[in-house]
């Protein structure tokens, strides 16, 4: 493996590096450190939402849109039901093949099961590799349920939250946290009944929320097949660009960049500590008479730090 191969966009080298990073091979970590000065040019877009919202179709449409504009596109798929990550039905997968043959598109899927917190670290690292490879756009697709999955969005510059018409539950789930991370809201499958009302409900909720740090646009799309196929995709891309210019240039941009850098360091510190936790537990002799709180405290106290406060 060489830094030059990654910078030249060599796909087998990149694929191996991402795999080796997941295995925490020291040479892979050294490599990603060496790539660091060559990153920071890609624009990273997160696409999240409940299962069944049509995130994959939307990502598929965005790939086509950005390719038509001449951008190279990297995709990181985390959603287990995504055709990008190999989890969808045959028809969807066949549809994706066209991008697989396009050398301007590179798709990587990351496993959702592993060390808790490891998912956001893996996402950050894969995004760095794709950034160094020179992809102008990086799309991250993940399910929006689950804390680890929501934290993945820390890696994105713009987070797109995808909803569909007519689901009361969907709107409820939004309330529970997804709305807070959204930079752009999409009502996908908007040729379905109730699309207007869902968009209206979301706009109302946006007005009512406590922390109105920035304006969130609501865009209606039809990413799936049918008469209205592709409807709203240009509008979605425009909403993403609008968020990009307001959030990442001008006042507040530096603080935002610092918060993003901090999120990455946090996920790295957490996984380093989690590795320690595994080693601690492996060395433990079981004693069912002692309560687990005392056992955990003693383990941490005995093996760790004089230096921590």
């Amino acid at each position: 493996m060489s830094v030059a191969a990654i910078l030249a966009g060599d796909v087998p080298t990149a694929a191996r590096l991402i795999r080796d990073l997941d295995d925490r091979r020291p040479d892979a970590v050294a490599m990603v450190k060496a790539l660091w000065p060559h990153t920071g040019r890609a624009y990273i877009i997160g696409v999240t939402g409940n299962p069944g919202a049509g995130k994959s179709s939307l990502v598929d449409s965005l790939i086509s849109h950005y390719r038509a504009a001449g951008d190279r596109v990297g995709v990181i798929a985390i959603d287990p039901s995504s055709p990008f990550s190999g989890g969808a039905l045959l028809g969807d997968r066949v549809r994706m093949q066209r991008h697989a043959l396009d050398p301007g598109v590179f798709i990587r899927s990351l496993a959702t099961r592993g060390h808790l917190g490891g998912l956001s670290r893996s996402t950050f690292e894969a995004a760095h590799v794709l950034d160094a490879m020179g992809f102008e756009r990086i799309l991250i697709e993940t399910v929006g349920v689950g804390q680890d999955e929501v934290e993945v969005m820390d890696a994105a510059h713009t987070t797109v939250v995808v909803s569909v018409p007519g689901l009361g539950d969907e709107v409820q789930a939004m309330k529970a946290g997804l709305l807070e991370v959204a930079d752009v809201l999409v009502v996908n499958k908007s040729d379905r009944e109730g699309a207007e009302r869902t968009a209206g409900d979301l706009r109302t909720m946006l007005r009512l929320r406590a922390s109105r740090t920035h304006e969130v646009e609501v865009v209606s799309t039809v990413a799936t097949r049918g008469v209205a196929h592709g409807s709203g995709i240009a509008e979605l891309a425009a909403a993403i660009e609008k968020h990009r210019s307001t959030a990442w240039t001008g006042p507040g941009a530096a603080a935002r960049a610092a918060a993003r850098a901090r999120a990455q360091i946090e996920s790295l510190v957490r996984t380093l500590l989690a590795e320690r936790a595994s080693r601690l537990l492996a060395s433990r002799v079981s004693d069912p008479a002692t309560d687990p709180w005392t056992v955990a405290e003693e383990l941490v106290a005995a093996h760790m730090s004089s230096g921590s406060r």
Copy 2:
């Protein structure tokens, strides 16, 4: 707060203890340690599955079933779309009120957003409090998407995974991890078209999976309102009892209990270390020139342990 009040089943004391545990108040941790010798009698049942599978209706039906059998029932609701946790539509909530008035039922909801890994710790601790209060059955309801949410099921003796008919995506999501944690599989809303086929698909997947450590029963239920309301609930309860007797008595039970105890200690160690990570990051002076991997390693190395390997 006193241990005696909890053991006597005093609801306000228990509610305060659970809240104080979430705030990591030292007196609350001391209290839960003191409760430790008084726990271990409750049988804990986890109910998980994708949003929209009807988990809350199923939990509602199970409460009625166990109450009719004379058991007192504690409920821990983590699913943000659950009426138990305050996230559902009005109709559902009204329906739940009957249990709220029953002194033999105690419902607590836990927040899904907070420290990563904190959810499984909070669930274990709330389950301990309910156990000490003398509830014979504890039901834990959570969404089955997300790593943190799946780890919550480590607290359960029997994990029930809920599916619904006709969703290809649903079966796909099962493949991605939920199937591995299931002790009993439910096809809920089984009066819908395609219920037979879904049950058949799940049975096929069960036969094909790599790790067949124990038999998993597939039960068809109709927990929602309608002609067939309550259908299959007695069968589900019987399947849970069957799993209880095979898994928690006889050979393998001791190893299983040790693994469960280990999972709790692991979640406690992880959150203790996460607290350290937060303190480490708070003390960090930002330097954008250094790559984040080096920053994270230096932070951990400087503040931690000579004693760890």
